[in-house]
């Protein structure tokens, strides 16, 4: 069964606040094997004009991937997780994520389309501070194989 287009625009509740720590950023930077000092050294980050160490451009996936599971797990959409693969990913930054940020994610079903017998579901994850400052938006397209 193809996924119903009427779910486009569905908005999920904000996620619990995520506090970005220096050591989590360092751990992530180590895991992607990127030695850039802006991810580790507050002095280096300040020299670039930031208040504290900043996170790599894809760091927000640690928040947006779990947030996106609200869509995958939504029984009304009926997505079979065992048949889902990650098709596309896009980040649009207002500013880099930095240590000390307390962030929340609001996920919206951005688009649903069928292609080659698969359903493509694009989720939009708006990441803001708990104070409402926009930080970034992440778009992820999930390919649900063989449903359309």
């Amino acid at each position: 069964m193809p996924i119903d287009q009427s779910f486009v625009g569905r908005v999920y509740p904000p996620t619990a606040p995520y506090e970005v720590g220096r050591e989590k950023i360092r751990e992530f930077a180590d895991a992607v094997k990127d030695p850039n000092p802006a991810y580790r050294d507050p002095v280096a980050a300040r020299a670039l004009g930031y208040d504290d160490v900043i996170a790599p451009p894809t760091f927000a996936i640690v928040m947006t991937l779990p947030a996106g599971h609200q869509v995958i797990d939504d029984p009304e959409l009926g997505i079979d997780y065992s048949r889902v693969v990650h098709g596309e990913q896009r980040f649009v930054h207002t500013r880099p994520v930095r240590a000390g940020d307390v962030l929340q994610v609001v996920v919206t079903v951005d688009a649903i389309r069928a292609a080659a017998g698969n359903d493509l579901v694009t989720t939009r994850a708006d990441v803001t501070t708990v104070g409402g400052e926009a930080v970034l938006t992440a778009f992820g397209t999930l390919v649900a194989r063989g449903t359309a």
Partner: protein
Amino acid sequence: MSSIAVGAELPAQDFPIARGDLVRYAGASLDFNPLHWNEHFAKSVGLPDVIAHGMFTMASAIRVVTDWAGDPGAVVEYSVRFTRPVVVPDPDGATLHVAGSVRAVRDDGLVEVDLTCTVEGQTVLARARAVVRVPATSGSA
């Protein structure tokens, strides 16, 4: 800014990917899908072997832009399409090759970069593109 011309190439880089890198990335990213560490599971779903997290490949590839720009916070947009899984056999692993070139210099000074991301000559990320704010004093290609 005038030193950056359309078509200018960014220094290409090779990124070796070993099985242990995927385990470490799983822990840091909290993506514990067994496709990325369990050979038995990967083969049971028809893959030749364990595959890298697409997000690990994506995170590696942007290094070509952030190392060039100097300031990793200058990456305003970054997008990819995951076209082919990166198979990571143990112990040999795989090598991701990433090259970049300037696609456009916008009127607002933002620079669009196209990335080509291949493993053994085959594209693994398609339409890989970044938009970066490059200070006038750095980023000469």
